[in-house]
Amino acid sequence: MNAVAYCHPFVPPEWIAAHGLGPCWLPCRAGDEPAGPVRRGVCPVASARLDDFAGPLPADAVVLTTTCDQIRYVAAVVQHLGTLPVFLLHVPRTWQTGSTRAFYREEIARLGRFLVARGGTSPDDDSLSRTILRYDQARAPLRLGHDAMPASAYARAIDAVRGDLPETAPGESAIVAGTLRVPSAQGGGEGGRHTECACYFTGRERLVRLALVGGPMSQGDYQWLTAFEDTGARFVLDATEAGERTLPAPVDLDRLKADPLDELVRIYFDSIPEVFQRPNDRWFAWLSKQVAGRCVRGIVVRRFVWCDHWHGEMPRLREELGVPVLEWEGTGNDPRARSGAAGRMEAFLEMLR
């Protein structure tokens, strides 16, 4: 099966899978690679993506989005190099009108034609519905409750449901995250996050409750955070780019039956609150509600230098959320940079205790 890589949550993996191709989620690697080149003015995430596409990739094509200007230019560079088929999905930044929503739907349809050209098969409504449901069921436990779990494990679980999910019989669990089993929507709370949560945080309810906010996080970032979880932090909300914030909305079965593609548009375009949207009130309202609802005591914002979107939101995060904010800036492809942030993180935790 041909694999199609993507790296933004507004690209529906179930749409790729429904075409008979393998969706391949590319986690962010910014900051994980030692001594990578720093490109002046280029955000480290865009830079890392350029490196991704310059080397061997576990996919035959890639889907990028216009949600960030620098990634839009990365798409142009990769298209110009001609080494990899690239599809650039325009995700409208405005969301108030039917015309932009219709345009996103047209873009998804256009992506479908791209997938067919890569060897995929255009799905009929039944097959699309089944695939959408399969992904919805796999995501369901990730939305259930927000009891603490190591941030890195939760991130891996979310990454897994963005990938190629095996076909399962109705009601059967989908296997994700390596050996983790995430229960189906009907299956209750066994396995997966909940089992691991219980093991990990039992008896540690006095931990400082934190939220992660910001752009993409790398596995190295999450592993680095583990050290702080071990010393008393508990990340009860992952509102980073690939975190729970950008999980699509639950599927409405009636709508799915009526028009599966429109339901796909609804659970993605209509529902995911994003910082790049204009205005981005929906994102901020969502975040405010989650921060209050989960009794978050401090917010760690992951942002990379030259990332305008998150940089520009720092004042509002500080001014309006009512909890202390720690800015964790990534400056480039240098894991040593994390050590510089460690002292600030420790001080932040001490202040919150």
């Binding site: 490109r39 002046r40 003015g41 280029v42 955000c43 865009a46 216009t66 960030c68 200007d69 620098q70 839009r72 230019y73 990365v74 798409a75 142009a76 560079v77 298209q79 110009h80 650039l88 325009h90 409208p92 930044r93 405005t94 108030q96 009108t97 015309s99 932009t100 345009f103 047209e106 256009r110 034609r113 790049f276 204009r278 205005p279 981005n280 230098v305 030259w306 305008d308 979107h309 940089h311 520009g312 720092m314 004042p315 509002r316």
Partner: protein
Amino acid sequence: MSHAAERITLDQWDRRYAALRAGGLCEPAYGGPLRRHVADGNSRLLKLRMDNSPAALRLWNFLLSEEQRLHQARRAGQRLVGAMKDLGTVPVMAYSLDGVAAFYADGAWWLPCLMENRTGMLELADRLGIDDSFCPVRAMLGAFVSQAHFPLPDLITCSVGATCDDMAVIAQRLATLNFDIFWWEMPHRRPPDPGEPGLVLPGGFSAPRNQVDLVRAELGRVRQALESLTGQSLTDGRLAEGIGRANRVRSVLAELRRLAYTARRCPMPALEMLIAEMLAIHFCSDQAESLLVLEELLAEVRSRVQAGEGPLEESAVRVFWVNPVADLRVMNLLEDAGGRICGTEYLFCHALDPIPEDLPPMEALARMALADPMVGSPVDRAGRIVADVRRFGAEAVVISRIPGASHCGLEGRLIGEIVGRRCGVPVLEVEVPPISDALEPALRTRLEALVETVKEGRAT
């Protein structure tokens, strides 16, 4: 009063102005000596060398009196439209209505340069969390919040989508500070897929039909907002007349560029040509007057071309310039180094192309808006630059980076590689901050090296 064409300092302009007045120079209401703009804070004029023609005097006075003009318009009861990240579309619509003045709020990005960082605009932007990792357009945030420059518009529009993140973020910051922004969507332009309905846009880029339809729908919302603002009906007839007026400005500018960039001897310096080109975006808040200003400049250029005169040596190296400079003085530096401008792509080439008049007006405006070089791939943009480099016979290309701008991180290398390979000319990439004095020796050296490289190539 005849006078040899040359670039002169402000001190020289004082004497020149007195002589012109004594010779009977008639000026519009905003006329006067350039020196008075220094008193208003535009101290960068002291370090510039400007063309010595009455036409250039009028151009500079027109540019530097825009804030006064906007305040006058407000006092006169006109409705003000601030068009953000919109290089040439909404102003055409706004000026189709009566009693409306539209302006380019992003134009505040030149305030730090003109006022040599003494505006406080950047400091205010810093305090509002928009620091120097953003492009100098952040000065606009300070200008809005302080209200120290332009009056607050009655309607603020902002194009988002395939636009630079700096503007999108700064405009969002304005929105969080309770400025009411009218957002409209601009999709990333791409060529039609095989079999997909598409069309060729003004300027030669192509796009699929559904993108034009989206932009037309979005501009339809802008049209409604303008109608609500003014209580007037923005009919197709009015729009067609407005497009016709915009096209007259564009046609004068097109001829001005053709003459200035192809003449054997450069008839008008780079600085004045840059400002002239900028008028096409928003007409400097007075569409009718901008036409007169350009016509006078064109007459001066025609006269100089016929006489074989110009402010620069005939041997000046012909340079194509990509992106506008944050510091106007750098255009002087190029000429000091022995170069001249022969072609430009200041990010708004679509505002220079004629708007189709044989189409329904909203369709024509949508096609024009979608032809914005920034909303498509930089590879497309490079293709247009290649064509213009050849058309104007440029011998070298300078790509000037705008510090912090989201598009400048990657576009320069891509455009440089394509243009250099296809045109066989040297390409230089430089970064120009709002005040480049500290970098001047390095910039000067690099520009001189470029000029010498071309001249050595000529010799062989």
